[in-house]
Amino acid sequence: MLRLALSHVESRAVAEEVVQDAWLTVLRSLDRFERRSSLRTWVLGIVVNCARSRARTERRIVTTSSESGPVVDPVRFLPANHPRWPHHWAAEPTEWRTPEAELLVRETRSVILDAIDALPSTQREVVLLRDVEGLQSTEVCNILRITDTHQRVLLHRARSRVRNALERYFAATEAT
């Protein structure tokens, strides 16, 4: 919840205020909760609304998502006119020789959090709600008022960028 708020505002202090505002809004409007969604989805929707309105008043520039362009750097692939393997990997991804536990240590986490931070805000909202909070796609579409197709585009771009960040991080640590 705090992370979701943080994704819209500059400072942790402001994000904490957003969470407080959101909880108070929840309390005030609890009798208007219509059970069309789970309580959790409804509450997260309120957090998104509070965070967005706070971001508007702080005039934080809302980064719109770059939704075109490839998710993997084109230089990683062979050219279209390659005689044998057009558009196949030129620089193949190499297996992460990292035990799963390693992925959860602090350094890796901060790589992931930095990658999430660097995302355009709409992509960040979707990946936080879907993959971090674990909501279903229909719930995320309801909260953010976007279509399922748009939701998948944003989710894919966000996940790809986080994967790219992990790849760069592991390549750098293995090189040392």
Binding site: M1, L2, R3, L6, R12, E16, E17, V19, Q20, W23, L24, L27, P70, V71, V72, P74, F77, W85, P86, H87, H88, W89, E92, P93, T94, E95, W96, E100, L103, L104, T108, R109, I112, L113, V127, D131, V132, G134, S137, R152, L155, H156, R159, S160, V162, R163, L166, E167
Partner: protein
Amino acid sequence: MIVTDLPELPCRELVELVTDYLEDRLSPIDRARFEAHLTECEACRTYLEQFRETIRVLGRLPEESLSPEAREALLTAFRGWSRL
């Protein structure tokens, strides 16, 4: 339809379709092309596995918690609320 008759799905296009594949939103033909490519391309299998791993790790990030001050302020607000 025989899978080998389908136009090949090159790696560069496959990486754009991974979420649609995982969410089961590919057309049957694209799904067949996707899977046919995977059986022959180790690099794309690695890519898919890393993508899945990324999703798993995202789902296991620890919850950010409020600072003690913010928590206290919120609890105070809650207490005030219940007295109304």
